[in-house]
């Protein structure tokens, strides 16, 4: 039995992430948070920089989109190499460990970010379930 794989950071991959988040993450589970976050991938395999933009309203994952060029304004932005993000997406590395190593950079209010980190972990757990071709 073959499982369809989505190309990492493709529009289809983002749509699948959004679909799964909406299905699996209830507003209660996401603590009814309203926030936005850009994960900025540097050194993608094609040499480009691109971002995934997440928008949550009252705990509902409203948008997961791929952005190239000008980024929409986000409450938090996290920047790292493509390879590092790929490890997190494959659940091989925890985002917190990556941040503590200094290989990943966070912009935004750290106090709020730490409060939100368990919900971001839940988001990453969903991303890890998406069959992905890196």
């Amino acid at each position: 039995m073959s499982t369809k794989k989505f190309k990492y950071l493709s529009k289809e991959w983002a749509a699948e992430v959004e679909k799964r988040c909406k299905a699996k993450l209830s507003p209660e589970k996401m603590k009814h948070i309203t926030s936005s976050m850009s994960t900025i991938y540097t050194n993608c395999p094609d040499g480009k920089t691109r971002a995934v933009f997440y928008k949550l309203t009252d705990g509902v994952v409203e948008t997961v989109s791929i952005v190239e060029g000008t980024l929409p304004k986000a409450e938090f932005s996290i920047t790292a190499d493509y390879d590092l993000f790929a490890k997190i997406s494959r659940a091989e590395l925890k985002a917190r460990s990556a941040l503590m190593s200094g290989k990943m950079s966070l912009k935004g209010n750290l106090v709020k970010a730490l409060t939100l980190s368990p919900t971001v972990d839940r988001l990453n757990e969903i991303i890890a379930t998406v069959p992905t071709e890196y």
Partner: protein, 408 residues
């Protein structure tokens, strides 16, 4: 629960936005594009919050400042401060969230093409938690903003904070009232032989308990909280710092009780002295010298006098009475909201970062009237400390505990 929203009719109200605007006006006059404060006194004076961890404040040319502190305390500082949580950020060991990255991120928007003047706070001090920018911090910030220039600018805040506003004065008065409660608790505990079996640390603790019950936030002094000395420790040569020890109190010995309370960053600091159980004529002679000197000292503080002029008068009195050998020759130390201790006035004296002996006191300056008597060869000494407010014609001692050296 936050108590940040003090209204103008509250006796402890301080207009912090006005302070920030005054700093910004001075920044413009000094050609400073953005101010980076790091001293504890600066944090207290601008934030209205106690910042026990390494903290910084970035003051832009206009608008609200942003402070950063260790992330474990950022939410509490924001809860205490008049600034909201978007202007009190936490730093921690994470990419983009370390001190230098955050500071550079806050400062850069106020530099033009990376160029501009950053006001910083550097220098040296006797006070360990002063909080001057460290060499390492400076080097790292310079590397992050290589085209910017740095200018030592702490004089701006030192000047603005010298004359105390009514809210600050009232906070000090309340802290002093609380200290008096601590002294009353000590007296009640040691009188009629109650001191027997007690230790210096116990005296410090029971005073702390009474003061905390009365609303003190902590025994703020970095010298070990409440300083308690008994016997020979009261008279250590040229000494004026006695963290409490486990020494037991003994009959016939002096006891020095130096209490510290904090109320909304206002600082109480008052010392009282006793003889335990009995005193010799010689001990009482020392005590009378000391009390008479303090009375004269409090009469002498007024606008227009300087530390040198006051010391000359006091030392003349000690010579006249024959106890000059026992005086530590200083009669004051500086005081302001938490973190502002030791130096008086501006850094404009003959020795960098020490009190200018020719500093001329003005109305509504505050200082600690601080006098230490030490006779090591007789194992006896006394200390007087009391926050005083320079008034139009003299001074007001804020702690009201009666001045005396009693045999208890």
């Amino acid at each position: 629960m936050t108590e940040k929203m003090l209204t103008k009719d509250n006796p402890y109200f301080i207009d912090f936005p006005k302070r920030i605007k005054a700093i910004q006006k001075a920044m413009a006059q000094h050609g400073i594009d953005v101010y980076l404060g790091s001293r504890l006194r600066t944090m207290s004076w601008t934030l209205d919050a106690f910042c026990p961890w390494r903290s910084y404040i970035v003051i832009p040319p206009e608008g609200l400042p942003t402070a950063i502190t260790f992330v474990i305390d950022a939410a509490r500082v924001a809860d205490d401060s008049w600034l909201d949580q978007d202007h009190i950020l936490g730093y921690g060991p994470m990419g983009g969230q370390d001190q230098v990255s955050l500071l550079a991120g806050l400062i850069k928007p106020y530099l033009k093409a990376g160029r501009g003047v950053i006001g910083m706070e550097t220098g040296m001090g006797t006070y360990l938690p002063e909080g001057h920018l460290t060499l390492f911090e400076f080097v790292m910030l310079k590397a992050a903003m290589p085209k910017a220039s740095f200018k030592n600018a702490h004089d701006i805040i030192d000047e603005l904070s010298m004359i105390k506003d009514q809210g600050t004065i009232n906070r000090f008065k309340e802290a002093s009232r609380i200290v008096d409660i601590g002294h009353r608790a000590v007296l009640d505990a040691i009188k009629e032989g109650g001191y027997r079996g007690m230790t210096e640390t116990e005296i410090g603790g029971l005073a702390a308990h009474a003061m905390r019950k009365a609303g003190s936030e902590w025994e703020w002094s970095f010298t070990g909280g409440n300083e308690i000395a008994s016997g020979y420790r009261t008279g250590l040569a040229a000494g004026a710092c006695t963290p409490a020890s486990r020494r037991k109190l003994k009959t016939g010995e002096p006891l020095m009780v130096d209490l510290h309370a904090m109320f909304r960053l206002g600082l109480g600091d008052h010392s009282h002295n006793y003889f335990l159980g009995k005193a010799t004529r010689r001990q009482l002679w020392h005590a009378k010298n000391f009390v008479d000197l303090i009375k004269l000292c409090l009469k002498t503080y007024k606008p227009g006098i300087s530390p040198t002029k006051l010391a000359d008068q006091m030392l003349a009195f000690t010579e006249e009475r024959g106890f000059q050998d026992y005086m530590v020759p200083g009669f004051e130390h500086g005081i302001g909201l938490m973190g502002d201790e030791w130096r008086i006035g501006m850094n404009d004296g003959p020795f960098e970062y020490w009190t200018n002996p020719d500093h001329v006191y003005r109305k509504n300056e505050m200082l600690i009237c601080a006098v230490q008597y030490a006779c090591p060869e007789e194992n006896i000494g006394f200390r007087y400390e009391n926050p005083i407010l320079i008034t139009a014609n003299g001074c007001e001692a804020m702690s009201k505990f009666p001045l005396s050296i009693d045999v208890v």
